[in-house]
Amino acid sequence: LEVTIVQKDGYSVVSLAGRLDILTFQQVGENLTKVISEGQIRLVLDAGDLAYVSSAGLRVILQARKAVKAAGGAIAIARANDFVLDVMNTTGFTSIIPTFATLEEAEGAVKA
């Protein structure tokens, strides 16, 4: 799994490419913790190239959501595929973390 972080004006885009599962969740969690501790608390998770997610991956996203909320920030998910979106719906995640079809909409949702 590849994590790419791009700081923009007033928010950051964290792109996840590959599989977010039991083997990669720690790596993603460490990246997100680092980004948030550096003060980047308005995050768009770009799931455009995220092929797969399991509950281990959902856990990491939920932790990031808690951390940014606690710091007064926001988080949104963009461009998740059918499978990822379906898993998020099934687990009630979509009622906690907003999901958007495009990056632009997600960026609009997290900007201060």
Partner: protein
């Protein structure tokens, strides 16, 4: 069609998970499962294996895990996961409260909730010192 179950034996290590998932993906691809169904089958197997590997007693070096793949009828797959760990029926784990907000939410039970939710049929049985979890699903919907 795979009428006689194909079997994959696994050791107790995290590396067993990707091995199992690529085996599942190969079978799912061979039987023409939709890409989304292929991901679903991988996910449920990941959840079950992760549970078995994390919750087995640490001193239990002899833990044996085996996965069986079969297609009992056209368009249906049956995956059985056998393990020699302590008796444990994952289907009895209560569903997490999905209505709670993120701050209060319990993380546990999410994996098995996904398994139950995505499979058409799940059954558990304890036989000959093994936990046997059978998962059945259509592959074209």
């Amino acid at each position: 069609m795979v009428a006689v179950p194909d079997v994959l034996q696994l050791d107790r290590e995290l590396a067993a998970v990707p091995r199992a998932l690529s085996w599942i993906a190969d079978h799912a691809g061979d039987c023409g499962a939709l890409p989304k169904v292929c991901s679903i089958l991988e996910m449920v197997v990941e959840e079950v294996l992760t549970n078995i590997i994390s919750y087995a007693r640490p001193e239990d070096d002899s833990l044996e895990i085996a996965i069986y793949w079969s297609e009992p009828t056209p368009g249906t797959v049956r995956i059985e996961i056998h393990d020699s760990g302590d008796e444990f029926n994952p289907l009895e784990v209560p569903d997490p409260d999905l209505s709670l907000d993120a701050e209060e939410r319990e993380i546990g039970g999410l994996g098995i909730h996904l398994v139950r939710r995505y499979m058409d049929h799940c059954e558990y049985e304890r036989r000959s010192g093994r936990n046997i979890l059978a998962l059945v699903r259509r592959i074209h919907a």
